[in-house]
Symmetry: C2
Subunit: 313 residues, 2 copies
């Protein structure tokens, strides 16, 4: 057992995941609608569809990263404010999945082992669910418990840049525009750094901002956590490509072999399985190296990175 | 000429509209992408589609309302910060139109006299354009010039509540769920107060928050402006229903007679043309009454309300 491995496993990621789930359930019950409105039934249906898109599944990688990153800078990961920010990241991720699964995008019927929102409800509802989940994410940060306004604005900036045309939406635009076209490694890496990496980076930044606030810009810990998250984000995607060809639909909870069939460019197609696995390993080690100098408060980051890069789905 | 009418027309709404347009153009050129990225072409295409959805048309009612409302509380309407917030409201509105026009919603090919985004580009791009425009709205408020963090957070709260499931998205969910079903007036009013009214109210609130900040909650002027905006929002929608049956497609810049054909519940169907016109007039007068006690700084609000309730499209 290496020194690294012996230090791993102390973080109770399962209980953190449960805390995120509980807080998400809380936010997805529209307590603001205490009185019964004339069109309550239609509104309830929208909230049910939103809950379908968010609750009951998912690795919660982004929410957990907010918490681990907060802990690494001395902020209590189970504080209400931290959980609210974790929920915001999960809402952005869920919104992107709901829209991604729609017929005009990937046209997928299965997600997290359940029918996708447009299948369980209808297409128009899926469109609105994604829209409303994006809004909810910004609302959650705006209302997050115990955060000062300056920290909220910093997190909102990080989150909006990661979500929009300079981030995730930009990555998806590359994806739909370059389907069935060969991509070289720099192009593939750019697409993934926007499509997946930007939000993973934003999760790490948001968590660190909870503890560091306006001091983040000059903090070496903030810089280390950012570098760690950039490598982790790419490793996460590289592993996704490997799992798409190696794991079953049942284990993945989404359609396996989909990217290969859809003629999407992937690392496996570009580099082959062995080289892709080697790339994943290199990124994994590089991610760890960036936070090597951090104290034991960063162990949750190490545990999470280990769990995410050794996952089977 | 009544006293009301003699005081009208002093605000140069055309130049305000031009200022919004110029600022929107500025924000829709991705200056953040100074270097050329490997997938620049795909990213440029997304920004072009976003610009198509936002620029070159529209009454800019929501942006103008931000400015008029700011002026009513003594804030300079042409300040960069005020224009940024006006642009944010217009981005939210444009995102809702782009998604509304998609085949799974209203399936419309014409908007503001141009092909809709999914026609000019494609469906997947229209989905991403709407998503990215919503994000951009929150980004613009987060980065708005000259606003303190507390004011930004207040405006972001108002904007997120108006946009999401408790506001616009909720209204649209009612719309798609209740198509071809008879509605009574309370239901129709609830649908529109969420679908259209919430964002118009948010525009008025945002403008007033620019000048009043944390004092807004206790300000009688803020309460007056809110009441004014609620009546104006409903008047705006009632007039929309009238124009749908009376104006031509060419004048509207969108397909006329659409709501009637789609078997959507409208005020005209519920009340008939004469009673609908009478309702519009009552709401118009009621809106003016709410701001009667405000000084001449509120004249821009009066001018804007007059222009919006006397529009031909």
């Amino acid at each position: 057992m290496t020194k690294l491995e012996s230090s791993l496993g102390k973080t109770d990621l399962a209980s953190w995941r449960k805390a995120i789930e509980t807080r998400l359930s809380h936010h997805l019950h529209p307590t603001g609608l205490a009185k019964t409105l004339p069109c309550q039934e239609s509104l309830d249906r929208l909230w049910q569809a939103m809950a379908h898109g968010v609750l009951g599944g998912g690795k919660r990688a982004r929410g957990l990263l907010v918490m681990a990153s907060a802990q690494a800078v001395g902020h209590q990961p189970l504080s209400e404010g931290c959980l609210d920010v974790a929920c915001a990241l999960e809402c952005i991720h869920a919104f992107s999945l709901v829209h991604d699964d729609m017929p005009c995008m990937d046209n997928d019927a299965l997600r997290r082992g359940k029918p996708t929102v447009h299948v369980a409800f209808d297409e128009a509802t899926a469109l609105l669910v994604g829209d409303a989940l994006q809004t909810l994410a910004f609302e959650l940060v705006t209302d997050a418990r115990g955060l000062d306004d300056s920290t909220k604005v910093q997190i909102l900036r990080v989150l909006s840049l990661a979500t929009g045309a300079r981030g995730m939406a930009g990555g998806q635009a590359i994806d739909i525009h370059r389907v069935a076209q060969a991509m070289q490694q720099p192009e593939l890496e750019e697409m993934h750094s926007l499509k997946t990496g930007a939000l993973i980076l934003a999760a790490a930044e948001s968590g660190a901002l909870l503890g560091l606030g306006f001091q983040a810009a000059e903090s070496p810990r903030y810089a280390s956590i950012r570098s760690f998250a950039m490598d982790l984000g790419l490793a996460f995607q590289v592993l996704d490509d490997l799992l798409d060809v190696s794991a079953s639909t049942q284990v993945l909870g989404k359609t396996a072999g989909k990217d290969a069939q859809a003629e999407k460019p992937t690392f496996v197609k570009l580099l082959g399985i062995d080289q892709t696995q080697a790339l994943a390993n290199r990124l994994h080690l590089s991610a760890f190296a960036h936070i090597q100098a951090l104290d034991e408060k960063a162990d949750a980051l190490r545990d999470l990175a280990h769990a995410l890069t050794h996952r089977q789905h």
